[in-house]
Each structure stands twice: as C-alpha cells, then as structure tokens.
Amino acid sequence: MREGDSIGQFRRRTGFAAWNRYAAVNSEFVPIHMDHEAGRAAGMPGAFGMGNLQVAYLHCLLRQWLEEQDRSGRVGGLSVQFRSPDTGGEVTATGEITQVGAERVEIALTVLDQEQQRLATGTATVELDH
C-alpha cells in the first residue's frame, strides 16, 4: 500500500434499471431521474442518475479495496463534488492513494462515464484496524 497506488475499479451499467432500484431504497423518485422530459427541462440532455448512487458506488469501491488488501477498516469520511450528469451507460468508480499513515489512508476518488468524462471527483479517508 503506497502513495500513487490505484485502489482498483467498481464498475456498473447505469440507466433506469439501476436508478429505479436505487430510488426504491432511497425513496428518491425525483422527476429528473425518472423522465427524459423532466431532465431536459432542468437543462440536461435527458434523465440522469442520482448523485447519491455515485456516492454509494464509491463506498462499494472503498470496501472492495479493503477486502482485496485483506485489511479490516472503515470509511471514516468522504467528500464528493459532482461534475457532469450520469445520463446512463457504463460508470466506473476509481481511486488513487494520496497518503498512507499508520491508522488511516487518504484516497483521491473519481467517477468516470464510458467516454472517460469525469462525473464526480472527491476524497476519502479510510481508517484501518490493527
């Protein structure tokens, strides 16, 4: 585990099938996520996915990485800024280690669409158990 190391990828295909499932557990039935016309009325190309679902994918990525490292720990904090709407397609959550400490690891996060356009960027702190 070193600075500059990739923490891998968490990849999912998004669209109404994924968004509706997430809306069902997060009670997030907002027209811009359900209807192309509502998305266009909001100035977007059409309906687009929930930012919260991208945040969930980043948590999945961090947990997956901890398991791959065979380390126990937890996400201590996470900050995400949304850059572009997820209008559907393959979405990839990725990360790179920026700082390694004895008890915590700092990670830079990115969510990309299938054109490699950044949907979201952020940072996370992972707290390691001993």
């Binding site: 997430y22 557990v25 997060n26 100035g43 969930a56 900050s79 995400v80 949304f82």
Partner: protein, 166 residues
C-alpha cells in the same frame, strides 16, 4: 447578473443556522439493510455480510419512504419538493428565485455504524451560502448540514450537502 451583486439577501444570510427538519427513523431492520445492499451492488450480488449480519453500509439511509416522527419548520407547509427556492421557503424566508438546481456535492464524516434495531435521529439545518461564477453564469451554493445520532446519542454521521442553483 451584474458583477458584484449577490443572490444572498439579508434575510437569507440571517437564516443561516436555522433548523430545517428533525426526523426520527423507525427501528432499522435487517431487511432494510439487505435491500439497500442489493440495490447499490446490483446487478452483482452484495457481499454476503450484508445479507447475514446486522451492520449497514456507511451510506445506508434509514429515513427512506417513512419516518416514525418528524418536526418541520412551521413555514414548510405546502412547499413543493422540487421548488428551487425550497431551501429558504421551508424556513419562512424568500428564496433567490433561480430556475435550475443541481446536487453540487456531499461531504460525510462517519461515527458509529447503523445496526439492525437502531433508531436514528436526524437534525438538519441551513449551514451557509457561497457564490461562484461558472460556465452557467453566477451560481449560488447553499449548504445544509445533517447530523445523525443513534438511540444512545452516539454520532452516526455528519453530512454537508451542497445545492447549486443558477
């Protein structure tokens, strides 16, 4: 909008710190945790621990669909959920009247995890305003802070949500 002008009225600035909403969840169930994990990992299955154990993933929302109790600001009655001025109207202040809104980002710090059987209390308040000039013109960024505690008073999560309006 002219350079040097602001969307933030004196009433909006004075409202910073106002509590928006207090919610109390129903007791979290193992089924809530399972369904959450299945949805966020779909179409692959979630890690088995979310199907077998009683600890929720950090991003779990115990307030979806219904809550056991909630107390809104008295001014929130009748405010439409997708109204771009909702942030202000729900605490009795006139909003800036902007047309579009976007999720600008979220920052979360976690305390103890949510477990099956927990009852979570959320208190959200208006935390502040900033403004920025971008490709969409002058944008107003409002931040709402939401603090969750469990039935023992332990901090579960402190979130700061940024709403962008333009």
């Amino acid at each position: 909008m002219e350079s040097g002008s602001t969307f933030v009225t004196p009433d909006m600035q004075a409202a910073v710190g106002t509590r928006i909403l207090r919610r109390v969840s129903y007791p979290v169930t193992a089924s809530d945790i399972r369904r959450w994990a299945i949805a966020v990992y779909w179409p692959q299955p979630p890690p088995q621990r979310y199907l077998d154990e009683d600890v929720a993933p950090a991003e779990f929302n115990p307030f979806a669909w219904a809550v056991a109790d909630q107390k809104r600001h008295p001014a929130s009655e009748g405010v439409e959920g997708n109204d771009p001025d909702r942030t202000e109207k729900q605490i009795g202040v006139a909003g800036p009247g902007l047309k579009f809104q976007l999720n600008g980002g979220i920052s979360e710090d976690y305390g103890v995890p949510v477990r099956s059987g927990d009852v979570i209390t959320s208190e959200s308040s208006l935390a502040g305003y900033t403004e920025r000039d971008g490709r969409l013109g002058r944008m107003l960024l409002s931040t709402t802070e939401d603090v969750w505690r469990n039935q023992g008073g332990e901090l579960v999560k402190r979130s700061r949500f940024t709403l962008i309006r333009y």
